[in-house]
Symmetry: C2
Subunit: 127 residues, 2 copies
Amino acid sequence: MNEKLTSSLEDYLEAIYLILKENNTVKAIDVSRKLGVTRASTTEALKKLAQKKLINYGRYDAISITPLGEATAKEVVNKHKSLYEFFRYVLGASDEESQKNACAIEHIISKDVLDRIITFTQNFHKN
Amino acid sequence: MNEKLTSSLEDYLEAIYLILKENNTVKAIDVSRKLGVTRASTTEALKKLAQKKLINYGRYDAISITPLGEATAKEVVNKHKSLYEFFRYVLGASDEESQKNACAIEHIISKDVLDRIITFTQNFHKN
DNA sequence: AACATATGTTAGACATGCCTAACAATAAAA
DNA sequence: TTTTATTGTTAGGCATGTCTAACATATGTT
C-alpha cells in the first residue's frame, strides 16, 4: 500500500501543492508548465497520484490534494527548503545552483543525513 | 557522442574500476555481485559501456577499461569519496548512512556544489 | 577427454516515464 | 449560441533498466 513515491511522482505532487498554495486551485496544465512536461504526461501522473490517495481527481475533474497528499508534499517541500538553505547560505552557492541541486537531491537523501544537515545549518547560523 | 552517462552506467563503470583496482581483473559476474543485479543486466550494461568507448569488451571476452573510462570512473569515485567524508566526518553520520547517501548523490550533484563541499570539508578539518 | 559447474548471452517480459498525434471536453469569444 | 481556443485524454511509440528462463561458452574436475 504505502509504497514510496518515485522521484517523478514526488515532483508532480510537490508542484500541485505549491501551485495550490499560490492559486487556491490547480489545473493539469499548470502542473505541466511548472514541470516542463506535456499534458499527456501530467494526466498519467495524476492518475497514479489519485490511485495512491494523494490527490482527489477524476476524468476532466478538478484536482485537490488529500490530507495524506498534503503531508507528503510538505515533507518534500521541507527537504527542498532545507537543502536549498544549506547550499545557498552555508556553502554559498548561487540561487540557481542551490535550487537545481535541491530539486535533485530532495528525492534521494535519507532522513538521517538530512536531519544532520538541518542541525548543521542551524548551528552555522548561530556562529 | 560524448553524452553524459546515466546513473546506472556510472555505477557499472565505477564497479568495474574498483574491482580492477583490487583484483587486476574483472569478470561480469563480479560486477553483477557488487551491484546486486543479474548477469543479464550486466551484459547489457557492458555493451553500452563498450559502445561509448569506456571499456574494451566483446562477446565472452575479458573486460578492460580504456583511458577515457578510467578517467570517468575516477571522477565518480572522487565524488563518492568527497561526499562520504563530508557525511561521515563533518556531519557525523554512520559509515552505512554515509555510503548509502554518497552512492545516490554522487550521480546527480553538480560540480559547483561538490567543489564547495570539498572546500568546506577541508576547512572543517583545519579547525 | 568427458562431464559438471560456473559464467555469459539472448530473447522476451515488465515497469517507469517521457513523447507525439488524434480526439474529447470545457471554456471563452463572437 | 455557435464557433474557436484551450485544456484534458487516449493510444501508441520510444528509451532505460530490470528481470527470468533458456541456451551458449568457458572452466574445472575426475
